[in-house]
């Protein structure tokens, strides 16, 4: 792999927000295509981050810092990528359900999807079923991720899936659920398509759906 792309991956893993923009620009100046920079620099780095997070060798503060670093690089790459006809992995819509204010787990999942090349729409926290249904209707994501950290708000995931049924949208989107109290059994019980115990394996699961 080209030295500069390897350096980009390393800087991303370190979460060095100061150098990433310069490096990204430098890589483009050296003649690498934006898509190549994304794939071999950033996404290669994210792949390592995902693995290390799964192993416990990296933790939330570092991963979120890497996410911010990635955003810096994407500010430069996105306008160029938009002009080329690069295929995205798919569109991923994610929200924390109604009554639940927890942001971190959902954001980790969102960044892992970004890191895997998905187009990610992050609706935010405390999202009513109807708001999620409206967003599915409008954005037509391939995959919907629902997050709940509280046992008390978990039932809202089931409500949201019901609302998708009622709106006639259930077959158009794969629904994945997650959050500390959620289990594979619970996911099956409420009629979700998939469950993942952590952000990194959520991406693997999503790729299975789309393959």
């Amino acid at each position: 792999m080209a030295e500069i792309l390897q350096e980009m991956a390393d800087v991303l893993i370190k979460g060095d927000m100061k150098t990433i923009s310069d490096l990204t620009q430098k890589a483009l100046d050296q003649g690498y295509a934006a898509e190549h920079v994304l794939q071999k620099g950033l996404l290669a780095g994210m792949d390592v981050i995902g693995k290390r997070f799964k192993e416990g060798d990296m933790f939330i503060p570092e991963v979120l810092r890497s996410a911010k670093t990635m955003h810096k690089a994407m500010e430069i790459l996105r306008p160029i990528l938009a002009q080329s006809d690069v295929q995205s992995q798919g569109t991923f819509l994610i929200a924390t359900v109604e009554g639940d204010m927890h942001d971190i787990g959902k954001n980790l999942v969102a960044m892992m999807f970004e890191g895997a090349g998905f187009e990610v729409i992050n609706l935010g926290i405390d999202q009513k079923a109807q708001a999620i249904v409206d967003a599915v209707k409008e954005k037509k994501p391939n995959i919907l991720g629902l997050s709940a950290l509280l046992t008390t708000t978990m039932p809202k995931m089931e409500d949201t899936i019901k609302s998708l049924h009622e709106a006639g949208l259930r077959d158009q989107v794969k629904v994945m659920v997650g959050g500390a109290p959620v289990t594979a059994e619970y996911a099956e019980k409420i009629g979700a398509d998939g469950y993942a115990p952590n952000a990194a394996s959520a991406v693997d699961k999503a790729k299975e759906f789309l393959s």
Partner: protein
Amino acid sequence: MSTQKTVTMRIHPLGRTVRSAMGLTIRQALQEQGIYVDSPCDGQGVCGQCKIRVEPAEAVPETPHANISMKEAQAGIRLACQAIPKDDIQVFLPPTYRLDAQQAPVDETILINRYQAEGNIQPAVQVREADGRFWFSHTWTPSQEYPLQDWTFEVSPKGLALDLGTTTLAASLVCLSTGRELASAGRLNPQIDYGHDVLTRIQRASDPEGLDLLASSVQSGIQELIREICTQAGARPEHILDAVIGGNTTMLQICAREDPSPLGRMPFTVGLAGGCNYPAARFGLDIHPQARVYVPPIAHAFVGSDISAGLVAIQGFFESADTMLFLDVGTNGEMGVSTGKVRVLTSTAAGPAFEGSGLRSGMRAAPGAIQAVSYDGNDLQLQIIGPKNQEAHGICGSGLLDLVHTLLEIGVLDPSGRLMTREELFDLPPAVVSRVQKLDGKAALQLTDSVWLTQGDIRQLQLAKGAVRTGIDFLLHKAGLDPRDLQRIVVGGGFGNVLRPASLEGVGMLPPDTGEKVLFAGNTSQFGCVRLLLSTAAREKLEQDMAGVEHIGLAQDAAFMEAFVQNMLFPEPESLLSFAPSSIGGEPEIP
């Protein structure tokens, strides 16, 4: 030399005279009369806890012990369990003594009609005798009197102080005449079978059947405790005429059969009023049927009467001009800051790590738990609860904090919380390096054959301490205080006295340079409930004080998440291997 066969002891502050056979220890003589001095080693002369003072000092040979200085010995301080009087003496009891209710009639009959005059004791009930029958009334309705069955002058009215915790229940039986604690007991909350944390219980009790199940479960646990303390003190449950319950809001609401589900979701509506009295039956208490239960003020869905009661116990939160931080750490971390003028409270989910739960080798602070860890320059030294040679079964909250702090200091953990690899630890002694292993393919530290600290455990601690620290930072910010300006930090809850404040600071749970201000206060909820049992004035004052306290919600604050993430990191160590040689090995220093 005296030739008498018995000695006479005048016991202060009871004002009783006790005669005992020559040759008995003072402890034995007191016990025969139903007077107990705290003695954790049960009279072996080991623990040094049963100190009393005698006069004249010459009448009782000295009882050498590390806890008694030469000056104290000259002043007549002796261990009750070892002291054998040679002559008549006066005995001065420590404030912690207990009376057996059945065998301590003399003073109580004197006191029964005059507890208003008895210093600070102002209970919420009064007992009156008329024509050989006994009646009791609540102080707020003195004309409404209830008959007392089988009552005599020898019986004293009793109060129940109950701490209703998510994990444990604790009860004290208190004599409402003298203010003495007559008995106390604790046990696990039987609801633990239905989930370890508050939210799981809320979920479980959110339908009528589940609520009934959980309410009956905790009520049966409380009944058992009441029977136990009554047996200890030789009292009967119907002698209990008043009760105070400190509990988190969820536990209170479930015990009172009030639907807890609104507590688990926005906007966190509390369904049970605090700062008022309820019939005993509301909480299923099998005490005198006309007894009332006082529930101290409830500030929020996650800041219950256990916290307001706790603030009564740590004197000065409302009265003093001192700047103070109060921290009660369990599954939920509740905290309060007082600047002397402004008082704010909040709470944050800490998870079960501090209670030794949810960890690979986690356990409660019980025999077999690693409770303290130090580094002797060669290897980790583990201190295990229990007799010498006790095998380690796991690690409890204080041990976890100590261990992680030590690992940070010697560089086995980097400030991100990652366990270093063996290759990175080349400059440490082999004894330490060889503890770094893989468990199920992931990094872990081996403490004994069966006890491990995994990378995942460290991540759990980072979440827990990060949440608590963020709560503290937000409170201090709200109160406009710099952490360095804090005068006192009072830590209540499950942490024992073993926990080193340096470790709280070292893992970053407390702000820098605050460790030396830490005082451990034990079960503040329980102590506060006892005080509230003994003083209606204290209840009124607390209600007024709590009305002036602001509660801030953290979950709704976007800045909270950002700060929380940063606080998951450990502080950068000032220098590696900065441990003091004096902390090497052996017993840890007990603050």
